[in-house]
Each structure stands twice: as structure tokens, then as C-alpha cells.
């Protein structure tokens, strides 16, 4: 029922469509890409975009197919963003439930850890973690998890503190529910909508982080198709082949806007429902 109501919101629907489109293209990339994204054709460098030709979006400076690289770039972006955001959510949420539910010393300790990490500008900490761990998508995911769990932890801990004060939680404890059972039945469901919203927003953030890291050439191998790397390369050939820069830029926009609309729409529905509940 709730899902149906969410779908009626234009924002959620638009966000869902954009995300589903990017996800489908990423999954189907090997099947629908016209060329091998890493295959170079040095006789056909910097071709402008021309629908109907062998290279619909043109080629880059090494004669690689821009459309194919765009599709495989979506694969890389989502394969960093989805596990990165999920991992950050799991770590952040686990610590937030522990801190918010147990309170006391655990709460202070976890709060200290959040404070320590957030003293670093998040992107800077991700960059030096990637530098220390070595390049590659797996390490980038790890870096995102190690930094962005704080986003979840901070917001969610506050929410958990509020929920824990409610009567139904006290009632569950009085009935003799264990801590784990109280958390699972009474606390977690109450915070789930917030968690989903944060998750969608975090995926958008992670897509941007992946683009920035690959723009700087620090995240992935130089051969691998990545939106950030395509933008960095496309800058040098703006006059001959503008699609080299515009296509990945548009792809980032659609993906991030999709996740943001989804998260924001869900959040707003959530806020509206919270108001209704209180009335």
C-alpha cells in the first residue's frame, strides 16, 4: 500500500524511472554496446557524434567508441555507488542503532568516532584512502564505506534516540523482549523510511565521488571506461567532438538527479506521513 502511495508522487516516479533506465543500460551494456569500450581505432579518432554511423556518439582521442564507453561507464558508476552506499548504510546504521539504543558509554564512543571522521572533508579522506589502499573499484567502495557511514550514523542515531523514548518500546521491554528483538521489531521498522531516503541520496553522492576520483585518474585503470575519465579526456577536444564531454556529463546528471529525486520524494512523503501520524 505504502509503495503504491509513493508511486503516485511525481518526484518518486521520475526518480525511479531515471534510476531504472541507468540500471538497465548498465546491466545490458555488454549486449547493447556497439563496440568493445577499450578497442582503439586510430584511423577514426575524435569523430563527431553522428546518429546512424558506426559510432553514434563519435569517438575519443584514441578512437574508442564514446557510446560504448558511456554504457560501460554506467556499469562502473553503479558498481561503485550501489555497494558503496549499501556498505556505508549497513555500517552506519548498525552503529547508530547501537549508539541510540544502548546510550551511555557506547553512545559517547561512537559519537567520538563520528566526530573524528567528520573533521576531515569527506572527499579528501576518500582520496587519501584510495591513495593508501591503491586504485581500483573495490578499494574505492571500501573508501566510501569507511568515510560515509558517518552520514547515516549521525542522522539515524538522533532518530533512534527519539523512537527509543516511545511507549511501545518500553512496553516491549516490559513484556520481556530481548534487546535484539525489541530493536528488530519496535525500533528498526520505525526508522526504515529514513534509512531508505538516506540510502538513495548516498547513491547519488557515491556516483559523484566515483566521477571525481576517475576524473583525477586516481580511481581506476586508465583503460577502464569511467564517466569522470571521459569528461577529463573530453575537455581537450571540445571543438572537434563536444559529445565526448557532454554525454558523460549528461549521464552523471541523470543518474544523480534520479537518486536525489527518489530520496527527496521518499523523504517528503515520509515527512508528510509523520505529520499525519502525529495529528
Amino acid at each position: 500500500m505504502t509503495v503504491l502511495r509513493w508511486l503516485r508522487s511525481g518526484r518518486v516516479l521520475a526518480g525511479l524511472l531515471a534510476v531504472a533506465l541507468v540500471l538497465a543500460l548498465a546491466v545490458l551494456a555488454p549486449a547493447i554496446a556497439p563496440h568493445d569500450p577499450e578497442a582503439q581505432d586510430l584511423t577514426m579518432t575524435l569523430q563527431p557524434a553522428h546518429l546512424g554511423s558506426a559510432y553514434p556518439l563519435g569517438t575519443d582521442a584514441l578512437g574508442r567508441c564514446v557510446l560504448s564507453r558511456l554504457l560501460f561507464g554506467a556499469r562502473l558508476a553503479l558498481s561503485v555507488a550501489i555497494p558503496g552506499a549499501l556498505g556505508a548504510m549497513l555500517l552506519g546504521a548498525a552503529l547508530a542503532y547501537a549508539a541510540g539504543y544502548l546510550g551511555g558509554r557506547t553512545d559517547r564512543l561512537i559519537g567520538r568516532a563520528v566526530d573524528a571522521v567528520t573533521l576531515f572533508p569527506p572527499l579528501i579522506l576518500i582520496l587519501i584512502l584510495v591513495f593508501a589502499l591503491g586504485a581500483g573499484p573495490t578499494n574505492l567502495v571500501l573508501a566510501i564505506v569507511l568515510v560515509d557511514w558517518t552520514r547515516f550514523c549521525r542522522v539515524l542515531r538522533h532518530e533512534v534516540r527519539v523512537v527509543v523514548q516511545r511507549d511501545h518500546v518500553a512496553a516491549a521491554r516490559l513484556l520481556g523482549f530481548s534487546h535484539i528483538r525489541t530493536l528488530a521489531i519496535e525500533v528498526v521498522p520505525a526508522t526504515l523510511p529514513l534509512l531508505v531516503t538516506l540510502l538513495a541520496l548516498e547513491m547519488g553522492i557515491a556516483v559523484v565521488v566515483e566521477a571525481i576520483v576517475s576524473f583525477l585518474g586516481l580511481g581506476v585503470q586508465p583503460d577502464q571506461a569511467a564517466w569522470g575519465q571521459m569528461i577529463a579526456d573530453g575537455r581537450t577536444a571540445l571543438h572537434q567532438a563536444p559529445a565526448n564531454l557532454l554525454a558523460p556529463a549528461a549521464a552523471i546528471l541523470v543518474t544523480v538527479a534520479g537518486f536525489n529525486l527518489l530520496g527527496d520524494g521518499l523523504g517528503r512523503k515520509l515527512a508528510a506521513r509523520l505529520v499525519e501520524d502525529r495529528a
Binding site: G10, R11, R112, D115, A116, V117, T118, L119, F120, P121, P122, L123, I124, L125, L127, I128, L129, F131, A132, L133, G134, G204, V208, A211, I212, F215, L216, G217, L218, I231, R235, L238, L245, A249, I252, L253, V256, A257, N260, L261, D264
Partner: protein, 351 residues
């Protein structure tokens, strides 16, 4: 005695704050040490002269000892030596830190200006203007317009700073050729160095041509960086305006016969100052992170570009120094904003 007691309590409070700051600084150092010295299998391995780097960074000692040695150097003000640029890191930072802070301050000003303007428009759209808002009363049309405006700001927020930067270069730099977009000064102009803040320095030496050139070079990077944060200011402003117009003091101000403009400027906007400050405090780190790529794209000689170059050349001392400087900037901004908060908000002061 009765008069001395509050003074002593205040000193104690200040001492506690300083202690907390020192504690956070130490945590930053420890985390940085762990990330850069403990995580990599051999931090000196990729460097060109392994022997020299190892000796210089005391990598042969046990880890706790290394940390202690590093702290000792930092206390003496020694940030190390860049192996790639062959210059002391402190000197590099003296040039790059003010440049980044200058960019961040200008970008925040852009964000606040655009955000306040946009927030007022958004508020006016939803509530049909502040004239005649007697608390509640937003029509169906107002709601639709507000929803559209909010979706619009949401889409604006989805554009990362580096895409704004590229867009501005494309439009104002290349197509219109109206604005410079590399470096900080036109070729042929000299860079005076007094405080490190170029706009201030060119004014101090009284060189209007250099000042104008520096100002023109700042426009695109500052707007590109600031514009992405404007929608956040906009939302905070709109929310606090709505809250303010439901409060009794607005009614009182109206009853005192103040005009709607006076009510807005003196009372309603003032209500938004504290949440906006809080937003700036929370977003400071994000702004600095976004600035990294903006600096790289505009060839702006700040800490972000220094950091990226150092990472490409595995210049460990520079990376350490720059990240430390970033944390110092975040920490100082936090302390500064907390101070402003206390000045503007009398409530916690009384306690």
C-alpha cells in the same frame, strides 16, 4: 567573591573548549597517521629515492615511535620536505592555504547571496508573498508552484561543482570569451606576497590592475563552487521564514506599525541567520572537498591542486601536510562559527 566566581567559571569553560580542540586535533593526527603510514603495505615503496625517503620519514622505527617522532616535528613547526618539488611543505602550504581559504570564503558568500535571494523568491511563490501571511494560508496554486520550485532546486542540487565549472568555462570562457579561466592573474602581472590572500595583497601594495585581474579570475571558480550550495541555503531560509511568520513576535512587530519590509528585514530574516550559520558549519568540509576539482579544472594554485599533484607523484610529506591543513581549516571554521553563534544567540551564553 560573588563577582569573581562567574569570571573563573568562564575561564574554566574556555580551558575546556581549548582542551576539546586539542583532543580533536590529536585524533586527526592519529587517523591521518593510520591512513598514510599504516594502511599502505610500504608507504615509501613508490617513491623514487626509497632510501632517502625512509630515512627522512623515520620509517625504520616501530609505528608508535614513528608517530611520536612525527608529532615532535609538527610541534617544532616542521611539516617535512617535498621529495618531488624539493621544497619545504610549510612553504608550499603558505602559498596554497590562503588561496583555498580565499576561494572557499568567496564561494560561501556566493552561496549565501544566491541562497537568500532564491529562498525569498521560493517563499514568496509558495505563500504568495509575505504581505498578508497571517500564519497559515497557502492556496492550492501556491502549493503547486512550491512543488515545482522545489523540484527545480532539487535538480539544481544534482549538478556537482565540477560540472558547473566545466559549463562556465565552456560558456563564459570559450564561447563568449568574456572571462579568464586559468590561474589567478593575467600573464605579465606579478604576484605580491604579503598575507597570501591575493585580493588583499594586491590592494595592500596598491596595484589596481592586478586586483582587477585577480578579481576577474576569481569569478568563475567562486560561482561554480558556490552555486551548488545555494539551494541548501535556499531551503533553510524558506523553512525558517515559514517558522518566523508563524511566531508571535511578527504579529507584535506588525501591531507596532512596522512596514512589511521592516518586519522582513529586522525580524524574519534575523530568524534565519542561526540556521544558515549551522548549515555553513555542517557544509564546510563538503565545500572544501568540492573545491579540489574546481581548483584542478581552473588551474587554481590552492591546496586541492597541490594535493592531487602530490598524490600523482606519491609525495607523502606534501599529502600529509595538505590534509592536515584541510582539517585545520575545518576545525577553525567550526570554532569561528561556534563563536559567532554564541554572539548572535544569547541562550547558551546565559547557562
Amino acid at each position: 567573591m560573588a563577582r569573581l566566581a562567574p569570571c573563573g567559571r568562564r575561564l574554566l569553560a574556555i580551558a575546556q573548549r581549548l582542551l576539546a580542540i586539542a583532543q580533536r586535533l590529536l585524533t586527526v593526527l592519529l587517523l591521518l597517521f593510520i591512513v598514510l603510514r599504516v594502511l599502505p603495505a610500504d608507504p615509501a615503496a613508490p617513491a623514487a629515492e626509497i632510501g632517502a625517503t625512509r630515512q627522512q620519514t623515520s620509517l625504520d622505527e616501530a609505528l608508535p615511535m614513528q608517530f611520536a617522532i612525527w608529532l615532535g616535528w609538527l610541534v617544532q613547526g616542521d611539516l617535512g620536505h617535498s621529495s618531488h618539488l624539493d621544497r619545504p611543505v610549510a612553504g608550499l602550504l603558505a602559498e596554497a592555504l590562503p588561496a583555498t581559504v580565499e576561494l572557499a570564503i568567496l564561494a560561501s558568500s556566493v552561496a549565501v547571496l544566491l541562497g537568500v535571494a532564491g529562498g525569498l523568491v521560493l517563499f514568496a511563490l509558495q505563500w504568495g508573498g509575505w504581505q498578508g501571511t497571517g500564519g497559515r494560508g497557502t492556496g492550492r496554486r501556491g502549493e503547486t508552484r512550491a512543488a515545482l520550485a522545489e523540484t527545480g532546486t532539487m535538480l539544481l542540487m544534482s549538478i556537482p561543482a565540477f560540472l558547473w565549472a566545466l559549463l562556465f568555462i565552456l560558456v563564459f570562457g570559450v564561447l563568449l570569451a568574456a572571462m579568464p579561466f586559468t590561474g589567478r592573474l593575467d600573464p605579465g602581472l606579478s604576484h605580491p606576497f604579503i598575507t597570501g590572500f591575493l585580493l588583499l595583497d594586491t590592494l595592500l601594495v596598491g596595484d589596481p590592475r592586478a586586483f582587477l585581474s585577480a578579481a576577474r579570475h576569481m569569478v568563475l571558480p567562486a560561482v561554480a563552487l558556490g552555486i551548488g550550495f545555494a539551494p541548501l541555503v535556499m531551503r533553510v531560509l524558506r523553512a525558517s521564514l515559514i517558522e518566523a511568520y508563524q511566531a508571535d513576535y511578527i504579529l507584535q512587530a506588525r501591531l507596532r506599525g512596522l512596514s512589511e519590509e521592516q518586519v522582513l528585514l529586522r525580524h524574519a530574516l534575523g530568524h534565519a541567520a542561526l540556521p544558515t550559520l549551522g548549515l555553513l558549519r555542517a557544509q564546510c568540509g563538503l565545500l572544501l572537498g568540492a573545491a579540489v576539482l574546481v581548483e584542478v579544472i581552473f588551474a587554481y594554485p590552492g591546496m586541492g591542486r597541490l594535493l592531487v599533484d602530490a598524490m600523482r607523484n606519491t609525495d607523502l610529506s606534501v599529502i600529509q601536510g595538505v590534509v592536515l591543513a584541510y582539517c585545520a581549516v575545518v576545525l577553525s571554521a567550526n570554532v569561528l562559527i561556534d563563536g559567532l553563534h554564541l554572539l548572535l544567540n544569547p541562550r547558551p551564553r546565559a547557562r
